[in-house]
């Protein structure tokens, strides 16, 4: 009994132990974790840093990855969290195998796995905290702020743009108006002033003092709508005598996205009487981070030639001829003894038969005229002629089915003048002259016959000529598809200058063959253009899509853009590609939005940096494997690579496309995690490539902002390979002033990097043109040196 009891106790105890073990989380023992966060910018304690603790280090890694992607909306709930105090300290309870994430907006997040360590001290870059310091210092003069501008396609995004409102601007009876705008600038003359026509205005900010607002409402007769600015400032904070900072987010569509843009603002302060302040200040030197501009893509899709083939042109043809049939005298029957009758009839029958039964021809009209010789009574001859012509028609049309061919039969009597003509042809001029004299003298044909019959040579000569006049004339009209062979078309193109220059009307069918036969690209483009113009005339607008798409392909191959070329062939109301739609006439179908046209238009739009417009078209493409690549590129350029729904697709496609794209997409995230990946990917690029060196310099400077030496050397090597990268670097937000200065400074001590002095000259030129907005220290030195030089010269 005792044994049984102890056995039971053992089982119960074991179950309890098991249950207890299950209840303990797999991540192990909870410990008190503490540490300090240091701000590397201020070298002091970093207050306000969020510390997220996870019992499972994998979860911490997951969050770290999301934060690196810039996606802070979907933070997973941490198991423990804390915020660093004034001394930068934090404390929380966490598993000894857990992980910590240190995060504050504007700074690069940091991941620390505990691995049993219970005290964690980290250093973080202050990032956005710097702005608060700026405000506390009470600015009296505005300088350009390190505003983060990001360019995606033709859109520039300004995020958390800090705009300080100085204390001196504040008055309760004043209005502050800030109108910021972007101006593209270049290095050829227009410099920082930009061009007025290309100015893009951003949202304006209005701040009214309390008194100003009250009196302004009165002034507008209590209708706020009459003053748009008043309506805008209605819910905004009031202008006071205190300094403040406005943060705003804006996006602007740039006219020339390929150019760097500077962001300026006009600050106006007015009271009731006058403008107290009118300053134009520079907010951002336009050195935005845009590694995506180096993305490689090349889309081009041809249309199926057979699908868009033009049928041969239908042409009308008139044919006329004579056959001489000998009839029995005074009868409407053919002379059976003359074999020529049957031969001639059969020849005509065959002609008509071929037309009627030919695949590409059809008989539309047949006219038969029976001609009688003029001897005898005229009326009798006419009657006889009619009988003969009806007989002839019957004989001719025997082989033609009873179709709707319009036929016409007519009987005429040859005149004696024709007899005179035949005599002349037989060189019997005297006889011909005598007959002509009778014809001229007697107008009545019967009288003519009486006189001519009396002539001595009537029986000997004229009688033999008369059968020649007894003929049957025919005339027929038929439609035929004139179909030249490719060889004939090419020969015509090569031999006929007008045809070659497309100065004559060329059937679309022949254009179709020429597109395939002509090899010279320039000539082909000329043909495409002519075909588009001609098809518009023949088919109406928009015309034939094939030459337009071929021309687009040709343009894309040589980086030429014409956004209006394919636009007419796109129907935005049908959000599908290759959609077959029944023609309005009801006969057959047409293909709306051919895939080739859509793809090529997207390619052109991307090259023109019209990414938002391309995004409309890309939605027409179905979500299948075929379109995955093009969609990934467009979405990447739109900035969707940070979106978790798109991340996998875009990241995988781009990293597996080209080595350069792998670097670019990693750099686009602008986080340490992906920068490290980008640095690895750069190794796959050609070592001596200027772009590879340039990107390497950027990534290295990002990874270690304190080390400017190695990136500067790499940057100078890139400059040495390609001088154009100096300009690019000056406009690149990833190249800091310090890095640029370091690179410039190193030229003096490393003359081998710039043997001809070109790099130094170009850098100096840009620094001078930027008038102190780029490397102000060097600018001062250069200008001072310039003044000294001038004085010396004078």
């Amino acid at each position: 009994m005792k044994k049984l009891y102890s056995y039971k106790c053992f089982i119960v105890f074991s179950i309890c132990i098991v249950l207890h073990c299950i209840s303990i989380p797999t991540w192990g023992q909870i410990k008190h974790v503490h540490g300090t966060v240091i701000n590397t910018d201020t070298k002091g304690a970093f207050e306000g840093v969020n510390v997220y603790g996870f019992h499972d280090a994998a979860k911490a890694e997951d969050l770290f990855r999301r934060l690196n992607m810039g996606n802070i909306k979907q933070i997973v709930s941490p198991d423990a969290s804390a915020v660093t105090d004034q001394l930068g300290g934090f404390e929380l309870e966490l598993s000894r195998n857990g992980g910590l994430i240190f995060y504050t907006p504007g700074a690069t997040p940091i991941l620390r796995k505990l691995n049993g360590v219970l005290q964690v001290n980290v250093s973080m870059a202050g990032g956005i905290q710097l702005e608060e310091v700026t405000i506390k210092a009470r600015l009296t003069k505005l300088t350009a702020l390190a505003a983060e501008t990001t360019k995606l396609g033709n859109k520039m995004y300004v995020e958390n743009f800090p705009f300080p409102i100085l204390q001196k601007w504040g008055k309760t009876n004043a209005r502050l108006l800030i109108q910021s705008f972007c101006v593209p600038w270049g290095w050829r003359g227009d410099t920082l002033h930009g061009r007025r026509n290309d100015t893009v205005f951003m949202k304006h900010i209005v701040r009214d003092g309390e008194e100003y607002k009250t009196t302004q409402i009165r002034r507008q007769n209590f209708e706020k709508r009459r003053d748009k600015l008043l309506a805008m400032s209605a819910h905004a904070p009031r202008l006071t005598g205190q300094s403040d900072t406005i943060y705003w987010v804006d996006s602007v569509t740039l006219n020339q996205p390929e150019k760097p843009y500077i962001v300026k603002a006009v600050v106006l302060v007015e009271d009731y009487h006058r403008i107290l302040r009118n300053d134009t200040i520079l907010l951002s030197t336009g050195r935005s981070r845009d590694p995506m501009k180096y993305l490689e893509y090349n889309f081009c899709e041809a249309l199926d030639m057979q699908t868009y083939r033009m049928p041969p042109k239908k042409e009308k043809r008139d044919v006329s001829g004579n056959i001489t049939l000998s009839f029995l005298v005074g009868s409407s029957k053919l002379d059976p003894e003359n074999p020529n009758n049957e031969i001639q009839l059969n020849k005509l029958r065959k002609e008509l038969h071929d037309i009627v039964y030919g695949e590409e021809s059809s008989l539309t009209y047949l006219q038969i005229t029976g001609v009688s010789s003029p001897e005898g009574n005229y009326q009798t001859n006419i009657q006889l002629g009619k009988k003969r012509v009806l007989f002839a028609r019957q004989e001719i049309t025997k082989s033609i089915p009873n179709t709707h061919v319009a036929t016409d039969a007519e009987a005429i009597v040859a005149d004696w003048g024709e007899v005179a003509d035949i005599l002349r042809q037989d060189t019997l001029n005297d006889e011909a002259q005598k007959i002509q004299a009778i014809v001229d003298k007697y107008k009545n044909i019967n009288d003519q016959y009486v006189q001519i019959r009396r002539l001595p040579f009537y029986k000997t000569t004229i009688n033999d000529i008369l059968p020649k006049l007894r003929t049957v004339k025919y005339k027929y009209r038929y439609d035929i598809f004139r179909k030249l062979t490719p060889e004939e078309i090419l020969k015509k193109y090569q031999t006929n200058p007008d045809y070659h220059q497309c100065k004559v009307q060329i059937p679309l069918y022949e254009f179709w063959w020429l597109f395939q036969l002509v090899k010279d690209k320039k000539e082909l483009e000329h043909l495409y253009k002519a075909a588009i113009a001609q098809s518009t005339q023949v088919l109406g607008k928009p015309g034939w899509v094939l030459p337009a798409n071929l021309l687009a392909e040709s343009y894309l191959s040589r980086d030429t853009l014409d956004l209006n070329l394919l636009q007419p062939y796109i129907n935005y109301n049908i959000v599908e590609v290759d959609k077959e739609v029944r023609k309005l006439s009801g006969n057959g179908t047409i293909i709306v939005n051919p895939r080739g046209v859509i793809v090529n238009q997207i390619a052109m739009l991307l090259k023109a940096h019209e990414v938002s417009e391309a995004s409309k078209l890309v939605q027409m493409l179905p979500n299948d494997q075929k379109n995955k690549e093009i969609k990934s590129y467009v979405y990447a350029l739109l900035g969707y690579y940070k979106d978790p729904d798109y991340y996998d697709g875009i990241y995988n496609v781009l990293t597996h496309s080209t080595p350069l794209n792998k670097v670019v997409i990693n750099m686009a995230f602008n986080t340490r995690y992906y920068d490290e990946k980008a640095l690895e990917a750069i190794e796959e690029l050609p070592k001596q490539d200027a772009l590879a060196m340039y990107l390497k310099a950027i990534v290295m400077s990002r990874l270690d902002p304190n080390d400017t030496y190695t990136p500067a050397i790499t940057l100078l090597m890139a400059f040495g390979k390609d001088n154009n990268y100096i300009v690019k670097a000056a406009a690149d937000g990833d190249i800091s002033d310090e890095l640029f200065e370091q690179a410039y400074g190193m030229l003096e001590f490393n003359p081998q990097l710039d043997m001809e002095g070109k790099i130094a000259k170009s850098m100096e030129k840009i620094i001078l043109e930027m008038k102190g907005d780029l490397c102000p220290t060097i600018y001062k030195q250069l200008t001072a040196h310039g003044h000294a030089k001038d004085k010396k010269m004078s």
Binding site: T214, T215, R219, N221
Partner: protein, 192 residues
Amino acid sequence: MNNLTQKRIIWLFTAMISVIVFPKIANAQQVAIHTDVMQDALKIPNLGLELYIDDAHTVQFSAFATSGPWTMDMKAGGVQATYRYWLSGRALTREFIGLNSLFTTYRYTNKSNRIRKGDAVGLGFAFGYAWPLTKRMSLTAHSSLGVAYYRQKEHYSYDDITSLWEHDQFPNSKGLCLVPLNFGVTISYIIK
């Protein structure tokens, strides 16, 4: 100054004010009613209209009447017209300067039973400061200093003056004096 001259002065003054003010009143954009709270506190009920001529110019008309503020033996009534130029450029906001005119009739007995009964016409320089309190309400501190011409009958209460009146010797006191034509704190409300 004989009676004829006095009448001429009054007519001339009225005509001048009319010429200046009436065309502007016709174009008034806004109208505010106002009352002087200091006078009200002194049991001198008053009410006025302030007409906006443009952003910086207003004209004001007000009337008052009283039958003895507090323990004073006084009866008075009068009208005032003021033209104001607002230095801030916005009416009823901040500083103003202007011209103030006054016509009043009164009867006042002081502690030594000296009675003054008569009329006065004044023209003075006005100035003040206004605070816009809300969209429609403003508070104005104002004052006016000017020259007043008065004519009054002045006597003690126990004097027998019936015979003087009969002999057409009323008024027995007249003259010009430098006086504050008004001062006070006004609350205005824009009604239109």
